[in-house]
Symmetry: C2
Subunit: 323 residues, 2 copies
Amino acid sequence: MSKKSKRSDKSAISGQMAAKTDAKKTKKEAPKATEHAAIVTAPETVVVPEPPPDPDYPRYRVEAGKNLKLAEINPNESEHYQSKADVKEELEKQRQRISSLQERLYAERRQSLLIVLQAMDTGGKDGTIRGVFQGVNPQGCQVSSFKAPSTEELEHDFLWRYHNKAPQRGIISIFNRSHYEDVLIVRVKQMISEDIWRYRYHAINEFEHMLTLNNTTVLKFFLYISKDEQKRRLESRLKDPSKHWKFSSNDLKERVFWDQYHVAFEDAINNCSTEYAPWYVVPANKKWYRNLVIARTIADTLEAMNPQYPAAEAGLENIVVPD
Amino acid sequence: MSKKSKRSDKSAISGQMAAKTDAKKTKKEAPKATEHAAIVTAPETVVVPEPPPDPDYPRYRVEAGKNLKLAEINPNESEHYQSKADVKEELEKQRQRISSLQERLYAERRQSLLIVLQAMDTGGKDGTIRGVFQGVNPQGCQVSSFKAPSTEELEHDFLWRYHNKAPQRGIISIFNRSHYEDVLIVRVKQMISEDIWRYRYHAINEFEHMLTLNNTTVLKFFLYISKDEQKRRLESRLKDPSKHWKFSSNDLKERVFWDQYHVAFEDAINNCSTEYAPWYVVPANKKWYRNLVIARTIADTLEAMNPQYPAAEAGLENIVVPD
């Protein structure tokens, strides 16, 4: 990728931020110094993060402003790889990279990584977590699965429960489903009106922007399977007694809305793939290829975040440990 | 171990519970049916859990009522094993067992496991999590590290922040430090009076009892290192530049209180090692042996919990997936 284009992206964001902080000043809201890690108020402390780096395989990243059509993507794609065995070594290498970079991220306690996983039912969110993260130290890795909201959650704004699970410094946080459910299922099932879900794209972008300004890198993956692949997966759960417990007849009810979900996904991706928090649409019919692409993207991103072990206390050379 | 003695333990607990629920009845507090998983109120729903099973190596378990003296335990012990290489295969086997039992626990969504790790500084809590749990699916495993309490936490009772992190059904929750800090450091540093820390043993036992009555199995490990092993570890952090960032001169300040901490640990273990939530004092000078003992104990415990994949929906055989 070109370093130059990255720079210009960055200054574009800087300009935007400068405009915002100027607006604040005229309102005479003097920013107060605060120790709180999650809120950046003082203009002088605003550090505009580098946009997430191009991974080696950026073709699955949805560039901001691009009008993506899912139909243009082949969910069966797997580059030159033919089978799980073909990617075994490469996947193991990427998992090792994630594991060792995560150790540095945790020690550094300065940045964090938020990974959003979305997919149609049977799309492989659970399998991705197992396949990519099994081997990462659980101390630095937190998975939040979002199901139907509780009564308490429904009595707050839609971002409240997700914000609560945003990663603290040093942590990789994985959202198994996410705030995007609030522009997907609620739109398809017509639980909210169009003006509300349209507004939410904006609210989501602002939320993710604020996270990135606080050293949280945001990666969003849509695991893209085809409709007949979903059929195969549901049938395999029906046929194989060891998978019976995974089968939910609710998945069949949702399947009826396949096309509506795809429109909602396209809109969400097109409206919320930003320079600072890009969406990746990952061909996911082949589970092993999906895992490889995601592992590679995460490892490359962590490498570009370049976490460092913290500096030592001053004067270590003179310290003697008493008996 | 004798099956018989287990049975009698169990009926002793049953008796205790029966007495309690009787007391409730006389107070006319009619228990209300509730869907909430975390609270058992109705006597008829009280299921007294089996006490955690004896692992293959029960000699590190502190039997309830035993007056343990730490001095009786050899922190250098490692059975017949001489080196890390000796335990490699066995440790890998135990980790595999944990990983596959965890998968069933997660699918079952009926029980959970709470693992408490306590140790003196440099005792190996972080290393244990990495060494035992790296390889477990992070989706089913949650680590909570408890540091100095926040202002908000201090404005609640001492158990509040720990209760909040109790494992939900299906989850293995690891406490890196725990509610036991509230009878350790606060006692040694004389932040609270003796009547308060003595009362807390009781409060802790009641808290853990309630968890076990809600299908949470509780395992508590004290990683026991010797004072000169701590010296070696601190010196190695000073000598090795790659470990400099781990060195905190605060550890030296705490080391001065070594003996007072040991008295506090002995008291906490003796007062809070119960049939339903036992303490294990694990020889921890040899990191590889410590990991083996803990992995083995956890795997045996999970096996005895015997999690099962949930039953399938009725009528699966007649379902056809539409195109």
